[in-house]
Protein backbone atom coordinates (compact mmCIF):
# COMPACT_ATOMS: atom_id res chain seq x y z
CA UNK A 1 0.00 0.00 0.00
CA UNK A 2 1.29 3.49 -0.84
CA UNK A 3 1.64 5.85 2.13
CA UNK A 4 -1.11 8.14 0.80
CA UNK A 5 -3.56 5.25 0.45
CA UNK A 6 -2.64 3.98 3.87
CA UNK A 7 -3.32 7.39 5.37
CA UNK A 8 -6.72 7.69 3.75
CA UNK A 9 -7.53 4.19 4.86
CA UNK A 10 -6.43 4.83 8.41
CA UNK A 11 -7.88 8.28 8.79
CA UNK A 12 -11.38 7.58 10.04
CA UNK A 13 -10.47 5.14 12.80
CA UNK A 14 -7.61 7.46 13.67
CA UNK A 15 -9.99 10.35 14.26
CA UNK A 16 -12.17 8.21 16.48
CA UNK A 17 -9.16 6.95 18.37
CA UNK A 18 -7.80 10.48 18.76
CA UNK A 19 -11.11 11.67 20.19
CA UNK A 20 -11.19 8.81 22.67
CA UNK A 21 -7.66 9.62 23.80
CA UNK A 22 -8.14 13.39 24.16
CA UNK A 23 -11.71 13.47 25.47
CA UNK A 24 -11.05 12.54 29.12
CA UNK A 25 -8.45 15.29 29.48
CA UNK A 26 -10.56 17.99 27.89
CA UNK A 27 -13.71 16.90 29.74
CA UNK A 28 -11.93 16.90 33.11
CA UNK A 29 -10.65 20.42 32.39
CA UNK A 30 -14.12 21.64 31.46
CA UNK A 31 -15.59 20.23 34.66
CA UNK A 32 -12.77 21.26 37.00
CA UNK A 33 -11.86 24.65 35.52
CA UNK A 34 -14.41 26.14 33.14
CA UNK A 35 -17.53 25.34 35.17
CA UNK A 36 -16.08 26.75 38.42
CA UNK A 37 -15.05 29.88 36.50
CA UNK A 38 -18.60 30.32 35.22
CA UNK A 39 -19.75 29.86 38.80
CA UNK A 40 -17.23 32.54 39.83
CA UNK A 41 -18.75 35.01 37.38
CA UNK A 42 -22.23 34.14 38.64
CA UNK A 43 -20.99 34.63 42.24
CA UNK A 44 -19.54 38.00 41.33
CA UNK A 45 -23.08 39.18 40.57
CA UNK A 46 -24.36 38.12 43.95
CA UNK A 47 -24.11 39.31 47.49
CA UNK A 48 -22.60 36.34 49.29
CA UNK A 49 -21.39 37.00 52.79
CA UNK A 50 -20.49 34.08 55.00
CA UNK A 51 -20.94 36.24 58.08
CA UNK A 52 -24.56 36.80 57.07
CA UNK A 53 -25.84 33.52 55.63
CA UNK A 54 -29.31 33.58 54.10
CA UNK A 55 -28.78 37.10 52.85
CA UNK A 56 -27.60 35.97 49.41
CA UNK A 57 -29.21 37.88 46.61
CA UNK A 58 -28.68 38.71 42.99
CA UNK A 59 -27.31 42.20 42.54
CA UNK A 60 -26.26 42.40 38.89
CA UNK A 61 -23.18 44.48 38.36
CA UNK A 62 -23.34 46.24 41.74
CA UNK A 63 -20.11 44.56 42.91
CA UNK A 64 -18.32 45.95 39.89
CA UNK A 65 -19.74 49.42 40.48
CA UNK A 66 -18.54 49.22 44.07
CA UNK A 67 -15.07 48.21 42.83
CA UNK A 68 -14.98 51.27 40.57
CA UNK A 69 -15.17 53.52 43.62
CA UNK A 70 -13.08 51.31 45.92
CA UNK A 71 -9.78 53.02 46.72
CA UNK A 72 -8.29 49.89 48.23
CA UNK A 73 -9.00 48.01 45.00
CA UNK A 74 -7.28 50.68 42.92
CA UNK A 75 -4.31 50.69 45.28
CA UNK A 76 -4.05 46.91 44.85
CA UNK A 77 -4.45 47.32 41.09
CA UNK A 78 -1.67 49.90 41.02
CA UNK A 79 0.66 47.81 43.15
CA UNK A 80 -0.06 44.78 40.94
CA UNK A 81 1.22 46.76 37.96
CA UNK A 82 4.27 47.98 39.89
CA UNK A 83 4.96 44.52 41.26
CA UNK A 84 4.58 42.75 37.92
CA UNK A 85 6.46 45.39 35.94
CA UNK A 86 9.39 45.76 38.31
CA UNK A 87 9.87 42.07 39.13
CA UNK A 88 9.73 41.03 35.47
CA UNK A 89 12.06 43.85 34.37
CA UNK A 90 14.60 43.02 37.08
CA UNK A 91 14.42 39.29 36.41
CA UNK A 92 15.08 39.90 32.73
CA UNK A 93 17.95 42.37 33.13
CA UNK A 94 19.72 40.49 35.93
CA UNK A 95 19.00 37.05 34.46
CA UNK A 96 20.28 38.02 31.02
CA UNK A 97 23.37 39.73 32.46
CA UNK A 98 24.08 36.64 34.53
CA UNK A 99 23.73 34.33 31.54
CA UNK A 100 26.19 36.45 29.54
CA UNK A 101 28.54 36.53 32.52
CA UNK A 102 28.49 32.80 33.23
CA UNK A 103 28.99 31.96 29.54
CA UNK A 104 32.34 33.76 29.71
CA UNK A 105 33.52 31.69 32.64
CA UNK A 106 35.38 28.74 31.19
CA UNK A 107 35.05 26.33 34.10
CA UNK A 108 32.51 25.26 36.67
CA UNK A 109 29.42 26.51 34.85
CA UNK A 110 27.60 23.55 36.31
CA UNK A 111 27.98 25.00 39.82
CA UNK A 112 25.85 27.94 38.75
CA UNK A 113 23.29 25.78 37.01
CA UNK A 114 22.87 23.76 40.20
CA UNK A 115 22.78 26.83 42.46
CA UNK A 116 20.12 28.37 40.22
CA UNK A 117 17.86 25.39 40.88
CA UNK A 118 17.67 26.12 44.59
CA UNK A 119 15.43 29.21 44.64
CA UNK A 120 13.27 27.85 41.81
CA UNK A 121 12.27 24.60 43.51
CA UNK A 122 11.55 26.07 46.95
CA UNK A 123 7.88 26.51 47.78
CA UNK A 124 7.08 30.25 47.57
CA UNK A 125 5.59 30.11 51.06
CA UNK A 126 8.90 28.80 52.42
CA UNK A 127 10.77 31.50 50.51
CA UNK A 128 8.51 34.14 52.06
CA UNK A 129 9.04 32.73 55.54
CA UNK A 130 12.82 32.45 55.13
CA UNK A 131 13.02 36.09 54.06
CA UNK A 132 10.63 37.28 56.73
CA UNK A 133 12.58 35.57 59.51
CA UNK A 134 16.19 34.82 58.60
CA UNK A 135 16.83 37.67 56.18
CA UNK A 136 14.74 40.67 57.20
CA UNK A 137 13.90 40.51 60.91
CA UNK A 138 15.22 43.69 62.53
CA UNK A 139 18.32 42.95 64.65
CA UNK A 140 18.59 39.26 63.73
CA UNK A 141 18.10 38.97 59.99
CA UNK A 142 21.23 38.88 57.84
CA UNK A 143 20.10 41.82 55.69
CA UNK A 144 19.52 43.95 58.76
CA UNK A 145 22.85 42.80 60.15
CA UNK A 146 24.56 43.83 56.90
CA UNK A 147 22.76 47.15 56.89
CA UNK A 148 23.87 47.86 60.46
CA UNK A 149 27.43 46.75 59.73
CA UNK A 150 27.55 49.14 56.80
CA UNK A 151 26.38 51.96 59.03
CA UNK A 152 22.99 52.23 57.37
CA UNK A 153 21.20 51.35 60.58
CA UNK A 154 18.50 48.86 61.47
CA UNK A 155 15.22 49.05 59.60
CA UNK A 156 11.77 47.58 59.92
CA UNK A 157 12.03 46.00 56.48
CA UNK A 158 8.53 44.56 56.36
CA UNK A 159 6.85 47.11 58.61
CA UNK A 160 7.75 50.30 56.80
CA UNK A 161 5.35 51.01 53.88
CA UNK A 162 8.05 51.79 51.31
CA UNK A 163 10.56 49.17 52.46
CA UNK A 164 7.85 46.50 52.64
CA UNK A 165 6.96 47.08 49.00
CA UNK A 166 10.61 46.99 47.99
CA UNK A 167 11.11 43.83 50.07
CA UNK A 168 8.29 41.81 48.48
CA UNK A 169 9.53 42.87 45.04
CA UNK A 170 13.08 41.79 45.93
CA UNK A 171 11.84 38.46 47.27
CA UNK A 172 9.97 37.60 44.07
CA UNK A 173 12.93 38.74 41.97
CA UNK A 174 15.29 36.66 44.09
CA UNK A 175 13.23 33.52 43.61
CA UNK A 176 12.64 33.76 39.85
CA UNK A 177 15.71 35.44 38.36
CA UNK A 178 17.52 32.07 38.29
CA UNK A 179 14.77 30.75 36.03
CA UNK A 180 15.27 33.59 33.54
CA UNK A 181 19.02 33.02 33.84
CA UNK A 182 18.68 29.34 32.91
CA UNK A 183 16.21 30.16 30.14
CA UNK A 184 18.55 32.74 28.63
CA UNK A 185 21.54 30.45 29.03
CA UNK A 186 19.73 27.83 26.95
CA UNK A 187 18.64 30.39 24.35
CA UNK A 188 22.13 31.86 23.90
CA UNK A 189 23.86 28.48 23.89
CA UNK A 190 21.56 27.41 21.04
CA UNK A 191 22.78 30.21 18.76
CA UNK A 192 25.11 29.25 15.90
CA UNK A 193 28.68 30.00 17.01
CA UNK A 194 30.08 30.83 13.54
CA UNK A 195 28.22 34.15 13.61
CA UNK A 196 30.25 35.24 16.61
CA UNK A 197 33.46 34.03 15.00
CA UNK A 198 32.77 36.19 11.96
CA UNK A 199 32.04 39.19 14.16
CA UNK A 200 35.22 38.62 16.14
CA UNK A 201 37.26 38.54 12.94
CA UNK A 202 35.58 41.82 12.00
CA UNK A 203 36.82 43.13 15.36
CA UNK A 204 33.38 43.88 16.73
CA UNK A 205 33.74 44.49 20.48
CA UNK A 206 31.80 42.56 23.10
CA UNK A 207 29.05 45.18 23.46
CA UNK A 208 28.50 45.44 19.70
CA UNK A 209 28.46 41.66 19.36
CA UNK A 210 25.77 41.57 22.04
CA UNK A 211 23.79 44.51 20.71
CA UNK A 212 23.78 43.59 17.03
CA UNK A 213 24.03 39.78 17.03
CA UNK A 214 22.97 38.17 20.29
CA UNK A 215 20.12 40.49 21.22
CA UNK A 216 18.22 40.34 17.91
CA UNK A 217 18.61 36.56 17.81
CA UNK A 218 17.31 35.94 21.32
CA UNK A 219 14.46 38.41 20.97
CA UNK A 220 11.82 35.66 20.59
CA UNK A 221 13.11 33.95 23.74
CA UNK A 222 12.99 37.27 25.62
CA UNK A 223 9.39 37.91 24.58
CA UNK A 224 8.29 34.46 25.66
CA UNK A 225 10.05 34.62 29.00
CA UNK A 226 8.65 38.09 29.73
CA UNK A 227 5.07 36.99 29.12
CA UNK A 228 5.61 33.79 31.06
CA UNK A 229 6.99 35.70 34.04
CA UNK A 230 4.13 38.22 33.82
CA UNK A 231 1.49 35.52 34.18
CA UNK A 232 3.35 34.08 37.17
CA UNK A 233 3.84 37.49 38.83
CA UNK A 234 0.14 38.30 38.34
CA UNK A 235 -0.91 35.24 40.30
CA UNK A 236 1.87 35.43 42.91
CA UNK A 237 0.45 34.82 46.34
CA UNK A 238 2.27 32.66 48.87
CA UNK A 239 5.54 34.60 49.15
CA UNK A 240 3.80 37.92 49.87
CA UNK A 241 1.28 36.21 52.13
CA UNK A 242 4.12 34.70 54.15
CA UNK A 243 6.33 37.79 54.21
CA UNK A 244 3.86 40.59 54.92
CA UNK A 245 0.35 39.16 54.60
CA UNK A 246 -0.43 42.23 52.48
CA UNK A 247 0.64 44.63 55.19
CA UNK A 248 1.62 46.85 56.80
CA UNK A 249 -2.04 47.78 56.50
CA UNK A 250 -2.76 47.11 52.86
CA UNK A 251 0.34 48.49 51.12
CA UNK A 252 1.70 45.20 49.74
CA UNK A 253 -1.69 43.95 48.58
CA UNK A 254 -1.70 42.86 44.95
CA UNK A 255 -5.14 42.14 43.42
CA UNK A 256 -4.66 38.47 44.18
CA UNK A 257 -4.12 39.08 47.87
CA UNK A 258 -6.90 41.65 48.02
CA UNK A 259 -9.38 39.17 46.55
CA UNK A 260 -8.20 36.60 49.10
CA UNK A 261 -8.55 38.95 52.05
CA UNK A 262 -11.97 40.22 50.97
CA UNK A 263 -13.18 36.64 50.50
CA UNK A 264 -11.67 34.82 53.43
CA UNK A 265 -10.88 37.46 56.04
CA UNK A 266 -13.94 39.67 55.49
CA UNK A 267 -16.00 36.68 54.26
CA UNK A 268 -17.47 38.76 51.47
CA UNK A 269 -17.29 36.08 48.76
CA UNK A 270 -19.42 37.89 46.19
CA UNK A 271 -17.27 41.00 46.12
CA UNK A 272 -14.12 38.86 46.31
CA UNK A 273 -15.33 36.97 43.25
CA UNK A 274 -15.77 40.22 41.34
CA UNK A 275 -12.19 41.24 42.19
CA UNK A 276 -10.99 37.79 41.08
CA UNK A 277 -12.84 38.19 37.77
CA UNK A 278 -10.90 41.38 37.11
CA UNK A 279 -7.61 39.58 37.79
CA UNK A 280 -8.76 36.77 35.51
CA UNK A 281 -9.45 39.28 32.73
CA UNK A 282 -6.05 40.89 33.24
CA UNK A 283 -4.31 37.51 33.06
CA UNK A 284 -6.22 36.51 29.94
CA UNK A 285 -5.12 39.75 28.32
CA UNK A 286 -1.51 38.73 28.91
CA UNK A 287 -2.36 35.23 27.71
CA UNK A 288 -3.77 36.63 24.46
CA UNK A 289 -0.40 38.28 24.00
CA UNK A 290 1.23 34.89 24.49
CA UNK A 291 -1.00 33.27 21.86
CA UNK A 292 -0.09 35.99 19.39
CA UNK A 293 3.59 35.53 19.98
CA UNK A 294 3.34 31.75 19.65
CA UNK A 295 1.60 32.10 16.33
CA UNK A 296 4.29 34.42 15.04
CA UNK A 297 7.17 32.32 16.35
Amino acid sequence: MKPAERLAFAERPERRFALAMAAPGVLVLIVTTTLPLLYLIWQSMHNINLAMPGMDRFMGLENYERMWGDERFWAAFGFTLIYTGSTVAMQLVIGLAMALLILRIPRAQWVFRIAAILPIVLAPVVVGLFWRSLMLTPDFGIVDFASRSLGLGSHNWLGDPVLARVSVIVIHTWQWTPFVFLYMLAAIAALPSDLFEAARIDRANAWRRFRYITLPLIRPAIIVVVILRMTVALSAFAAIYAATGGGPGTVTEIINLYAYRVSFAELSLGYGAAVAVVLLALTMLVAALLFRVRREA
Binding site: R15, L29, I114, A123, S133, T231, A238, Y260, L269
Partner: protein, 283 residues
Protein backbone atom coordinates in the same frame (compact mmCIF):
# COMPACT_ATOMS: atom_id res chain seq x y z
CA UNK B 1 53.58 38.52 30.83
CA UNK B 2 52.18 40.53 27.94
CA UNK B 3 49.98 43.47 28.99
CA UNK B 4 47.03 41.82 27.23
CA UNK B 5 47.41 38.70 29.32
CA UNK B 6 47.50 40.72 32.54
CA UNK B 7 44.35 42.53 31.50
CA UNK B 8 42.70 39.20 30.76
CA UNK B 9 43.69 37.87 34.16
CA UNK B 10 42.18 40.92 35.86
CA UNK B 11 39.04 40.62 33.78
CA UNK B 12 38.81 36.92 34.63
CA UNK B 13 39.18 37.73 38.31
CA UNK B 14 36.41 40.34 38.17
CA UNK B 15 34.15 37.90 36.35
CA UNK B 16 34.75 35.20 38.94
CA UNK B 17 34.11 37.65 41.76
CA UNK B 18 30.83 38.80 40.22
CA UNK B 19 29.78 35.21 39.66
CA UNK B 20 30.70 34.23 43.20
CA UNK B 21 28.60 37.11 44.55
CA UNK B 22 25.60 35.89 42.59
CA UNK B 23 26.11 32.37 43.82
CA UNK B 24 26.15 33.62 47.40
CA UNK B 25 22.98 35.65 46.95
CA UNK B 26 21.11 32.56 45.72
CA UNK B 27 22.47 30.28 48.38
CA UNK B 28 22.27 32.58 51.43
CA UNK B 29 18.68 32.01 52.61
CA UNK B 30 19.09 28.25 52.40
CA UNK B 31 22.53 28.26 54.01
CA UNK B 32 21.14 30.48 56.79
CA UNK B 33 18.31 28.03 57.27
CA UNK B 34 20.82 25.17 57.57
CA UNK B 35 22.88 27.13 60.14
CA UNK B 36 19.81 28.22 62.08
CA UNK B 37 18.35 24.73 62.17
CA UNK B 38 21.53 23.50 63.88
CA UNK B 39 21.43 26.13 66.62
CA UNK B 40 19.40 26.02 69.79
CA UNK B 41 16.62 28.59 70.11
CA UNK B 42 18.75 30.78 72.42
CA UNK B 43 21.77 30.81 70.12
CA UNK B 44 19.52 31.90 67.25
CA UNK B 45 18.85 35.23 68.91
CA UNK B 46 22.50 36.06 69.55
CA UNK B 47 23.71 39.36 68.13
CA UNK B 48 25.84 39.54 66.10
CA UNK B 49 24.70 36.24 64.52
CA UNK B 50 27.14 33.54 65.60
CA UNK B 51 28.92 31.47 62.99
CA UNK B 52 30.79 29.32 65.48
CA UNK B 53 28.52 27.40 67.79
CA UNK B 54 27.94 23.92 69.00
CA UNK B 55 25.68 22.34 66.40
CA UNK B 56 22.72 20.35 67.68
CA UNK B 57 20.15 18.23 65.89
CA UNK B 58 17.61 18.97 68.61
CA UNK B 59 15.35 21.01 66.31
CA UNK B 60 15.23 18.23 63.75
CA UNK B 61 14.35 15.73 66.46
CA UNK B 62 11.60 18.06 67.71
CA UNK B 63 10.00 18.68 64.31
CA UNK B 64 10.08 14.95 63.52
CA UNK B 65 9.03 13.50 66.88
CA UNK B 66 7.82 16.35 69.11
CA UNK B 67 4.20 17.21 69.94
CA UNK B 68 3.87 19.47 66.87
CA UNK B 69 5.86 17.17 64.57
CA UNK B 70 5.36 17.41 60.82
CA UNK B 71 5.12 13.70 60.04
CA UNK B 72 1.33 13.80 59.53
CA UNK B 73 1.87 16.81 57.28
CA UNK B 74 4.51 15.03 55.24
CA UNK B 75 2.00 12.18 54.85
CA UNK B 76 -0.69 14.66 53.77
CA UNK B 77 1.63 16.22 51.21
CA UNK B 78 2.67 12.80 49.96
CA UNK B 79 -0.91 11.58 49.50
CA UNK B 80 -2.02 14.76 47.74
CA UNK B 81 1.07 14.96 45.54
CA UNK B 82 1.09 11.28 44.58
CA UNK B 83 -2.68 11.22 43.97
CA UNK B 84 -2.45 14.33 41.82
CA UNK B 85 0.53 12.99 39.89
CA UNK B 86 -1.06 9.60 39.18
CA UNK B 87 -4.38 11.02 38.00
CA UNK B 88 -2.66 13.71 35.96
CA UNK B 89 -0.39 11.26 34.14
CA UNK B 90 -3.20 8.79 33.41
CA UNK B 91 -5.32 11.54 31.86
CA UNK B 92 -2.59 13.69 30.31
CA UNK B 93 -0.48 11.10 28.48
CA UNK B 94 -3.21 9.90 26.06
CA UNK B 95 -4.45 13.46 25.57
CA UNK B 96 -0.97 14.77 24.82
CA UNK B 97 -0.40 11.91 22.37
CA UNK B 98 -3.62 12.79 20.55
CA UNK B 99 -2.66 16.47 20.42
CA UNK B 100 0.88 15.81 19.23
CA UNK B 101 0.45 12.93 16.82
CA UNK B 102 -3.09 12.15 15.74
CA UNK B 103 -5.63 13.71 13.42
CA UNK B 104 -7.72 15.10 16.21
CA UNK B 105 -10.81 17.04 15.12
CA UNK B 106 -10.71 20.55 16.58
CA UNK B 107 -7.09 20.17 17.60
CA UNK B 108 -6.22 23.86 17.44
CA UNK B 109 -9.03 25.36 19.52
CA UNK B 110 -8.76 22.50 22.00
CA UNK B 111 -5.02 23.09 22.32
CA UNK B 112 -5.56 26.80 22.93
CA UNK B 113 -8.22 25.96 25.47
CA UNK B 114 -5.82 23.74 27.42
CA UNK B 115 -3.14 26.41 27.31
CA UNK B 116 -5.59 29.07 28.52
CA UNK B 117 -6.70 26.96 31.48
CA UNK B 118 -3.06 26.70 32.51
CA UNK B 119 -2.95 30.46 32.96
CA UNK B 120 -6.02 30.83 35.17
CA UNK B 121 -4.98 32.51 38.43
CA UNK B 122 -5.68 30.23 41.42
CA UNK B 123 -7.65 32.93 43.23
CA UNK B 124 -10.27 32.71 40.46
CA UNK B 125 -10.82 29.04 41.28
CA UNK B 126 -10.51 29.07 45.03
CA UNK B 127 -13.64 31.15 45.65
CA UNK B 128 -15.99 28.88 43.66
CA UNK B 129 -14.28 25.74 44.98
CA UNK B 130 -14.69 26.96 48.56
CA UNK B 131 -18.46 26.97 48.08
CA UNK B 132 -18.60 23.86 45.89
CA UNK B 133 -16.53 21.70 48.24
CA UNK B 134 -18.55 22.94 51.19
CA UNK B 135 -21.77 21.97 49.44
CA UNK B 136 -20.66 18.45 48.51
CA UNK B 137 -18.87 17.87 51.83
CA UNK B 138 -15.39 17.61 50.35
CA UNK B 139 -13.76 20.35 52.41
CA UNK B 140 -10.62 19.16 54.16
CA UNK B 141 -10.61 15.94 52.13
CA UNK B 142 -7.96 14.34 49.96
CA UNK B 143 -10.29 13.84 47.00
CA UNK B 144 -11.28 17.53 47.17
CA UNK B 145 -7.73 18.86 47.14
CA UNK B 146 -6.60 16.40 44.45
CA UNK B 147 -9.45 17.45 42.14
CA UNK B 148 -8.53 21.10 42.65
CA UNK B 149 -4.85 20.36 41.98
CA UNK B 150 -5.81 18.85 38.61
CA UNK B 151 -6.75 22.37 37.51
CA UNK B 152 -3.11 23.41 37.34
CA UNK B 153 -1.32 20.09 36.89
CA UNK B 154 -3.37 18.74 34.00
CA UNK B 155 -2.95 21.57 31.45
CA UNK B 156 0.69 21.85 32.47
CA UNK B 157 1.33 18.11 31.98
CA UNK B 158 -0.53 17.95 28.66
CA UNK B 159 1.49 20.78 27.18
CA UNK B 160 4.80 19.55 28.51
CA UNK B 161 4.14 16.07 27.10
CA UNK B 162 2.98 17.43 23.74
CA UNK B 163 6.36 19.12 23.26
CA UNK B 164 8.11 15.83 24.04
CA UNK B 165 5.80 13.62 21.94
CA UNK B 166 6.43 15.84 18.92
CA UNK B 167 10.10 14.87 19.13
CA UNK B 168 9.65 11.11 19.13
CA UNK B 169 10.41 9.71 15.66
CA UNK B 170 7.38 8.26 13.86
CA UNK B 171 9.10 5.39 12.05
CA UNK B 172 8.60 2.63 14.61
CA UNK B 173 5.02 3.61 15.23
CA UNK B 174 4.26 3.53 11.50
CA UNK B 175 6.02 0.21 11.11
CA UNK B 176 3.86 -1.22 13.88
CA UNK B 177 0.70 0.08 12.19
CA UNK B 178 1.77 -1.50 8.90
CA UNK B 179 2.22 -4.75 10.81
CA UNK B 180 -1.49 -4.49 11.63
CA UNK B 181 -1.03 -3.40 15.20
CA UNK B 182 -4.09 -1.48 16.39
CA UNK B 183 -3.74 2.21 17.20
CA UNK B 184 -3.89 1.39 20.87
CA UNK B 185 -1.25 -1.35 20.57
CA UNK B 186 1.06 1.02 18.69
CA UNK B 187 0.58 3.62 21.42
CA UNK B 188 0.97 1.18 24.29
CA UNK B 189 3.83 -1.01 23.01
CA UNK B 190 5.75 1.35 20.74
CA UNK B 191 5.19 5.00 21.69
CA UNK B 192 4.94 4.71 25.48
CA UNK B 193 8.31 2.95 25.93
CA UNK B 194 9.94 5.71 23.88
CA UNK B 195 8.21 8.36 25.99
CA UNK B 196 9.42 6.97 29.32
CA UNK B 197 11.93 9.79 29.82
CA UNK B 198 9.37 12.46 28.98
CA UNK B 199 6.88 10.96 31.40
CA UNK B 200 9.53 10.84 34.12
CA UNK B 201 10.22 14.55 33.67
CA UNK B 202 6.50 15.33 33.73
CA UNK B 203 5.99 13.26 36.88
CA UNK B 204 8.82 15.18 38.53
CA UNK B 205 7.36 18.62 37.84
CA UNK B 206 3.74 17.72 38.56
CA UNK B 207 4.82 16.25 41.89
CA UNK B 208 7.00 19.28 42.65
CA UNK B 209 4.22 21.78 41.92
CA UNK B 210 1.69 19.80 43.95
CA UNK B 211 4.10 19.47 46.86
CA UNK B 212 4.83 23.21 46.92
CA UNK B 213 1.23 24.42 46.56
CA UNK B 214 0.01 26.63 49.38
CA UNK B 215 -3.07 28.76 48.56
CA UNK B 216 -5.50 25.91 47.83
CA UNK B 217 -4.10 23.88 50.72
CA UNK B 218 -4.50 26.65 53.31
CA UNK B 219 -8.10 27.46 52.30
CA UNK B 220 -9.49 24.07 51.30
CA UNK B 221 -7.49 21.87 53.68
CA UNK B 222 -7.95 21.70 57.42
CA UNK B 223 -7.17 19.45 60.35
CA UNK B 224 -7.23 16.25 58.28
CA UNK B 225 -5.51 17.44 55.14
CA UNK B 226 -2.71 19.75 56.15
CA UNK B 227 0.26 19.67 53.77
CA UNK B 228 3.74 20.68 54.96
CA UNK B 229 3.56 24.07 53.28
CA UNK B 230 0.70 24.96 55.61
CA UNK B 231 2.31 23.25 58.61
CA UNK B 232 5.19 25.75 58.52
CA UNK B 233 2.84 28.01 60.44
CA UNK B 234 2.97 25.63 63.40
CA UNK B 235 6.22 27.33 64.33
CA UNK B 236 5.04 30.89 64.00
CA UNK B 237 2.46 32.61 66.12
CA UNK B 238 1.78 36.12 67.22
CA UNK B 239 3.92 35.82 70.36
CA UNK B 240 7.02 34.21 68.92
CA UNK B 241 8.71 32.52 66.03
CA UNK B 242 10.57 29.31 66.78
CA UNK B 243 13.35 30.03 64.31
CA UNK B 244 15.42 26.90 64.67
CA UNK B 245 12.38 24.63 64.47
CA UNK B 246 10.92 26.58 61.56
CA UNK B 247 14.23 26.27 59.70
CA UNK B 248 14.51 22.57 60.45
CA UNK B 249 10.90 21.91 59.40
CA UNK B 250 11.32 23.91 56.20
CA UNK B 251 14.49 22.04 55.30
CA UNK B 252 12.82 18.68 55.93
CA UNK B 253 9.80 19.80 53.88
CA UNK B 254 11.89 21.11 51.02
CA UNK B 255 14.36 18.22 50.94
CA UNK B 256 12.35 16.14 48.43
CA UNK B 257 11.87 19.01 45.97
CA UNK B 258 15.50 20.09 46.19
CA UNK B 259 16.58 16.53 45.34
CA UNK B 260 14.03 16.31 42.51
CA UNK B 261 15.09 19.70 41.16
CA UNK B 262 18.75 18.71 41.07
CA UNK B 263 17.95 15.35 39.47
CA UNK B 264 15.84 17.05 36.80
CA UNK B 265 18.07 20.11 36.43
CA UNK B 266 18.61 19.61 32.68
CA UNK B 267 14.88 19.78 32.11
CA UNK B 268 13.98 22.61 34.45
CA UNK B 269 13.69 25.25 31.72
CA UNK B 270 11.45 23.20 29.44
CA UNK B 271 9.72 21.80 32.51
CA UNK B 272 8.65 25.20 33.81
CA UNK B 273 7.75 26.82 30.51
CA UNK B 274 5.54 24.04 29.15
CA UNK B 275 3.46 25.22 26.23
CA UNK B 276 5.05 28.63 25.86
CA UNK B 277 7.34 27.57 23.06
CA UNK B 278 7.53 24.43 21.04
CA UNK B 279 10.59 22.48 22.13
CA UNK B 280 12.65 24.96 24.10
CA UNK B 281 16.06 24.25 25.56
CA UNK B 282 15.73 20.50 25.70
CA UNK B 283 19.40 19.77 25.88
Amino acid sequence: MRPGAALNAVRGGVLMLAAATLLTVWAVPVLLAVLTSLKNEKEVLAYPPSLLFEPTLKSFVTVLTGPTNILPNLTSSLIVAIGTTLLTIIIAVPAAYAFARLKLPGKKPAGFYVLATQLVPPIGLIIPYFLILNKIGWMDSYQGLIVVYLTFSLPFAIWLLVSYFEDIPREMEEAALLDRASRWQAFWHVVLPQARGAIAVTVTFVFLNAWNEFLFAVVLGGATVKPVTVAMYNYINTEQTLWAQLSAAALVAMFPVIVLGILAQKHIVSGLSAGAVKGTGRR
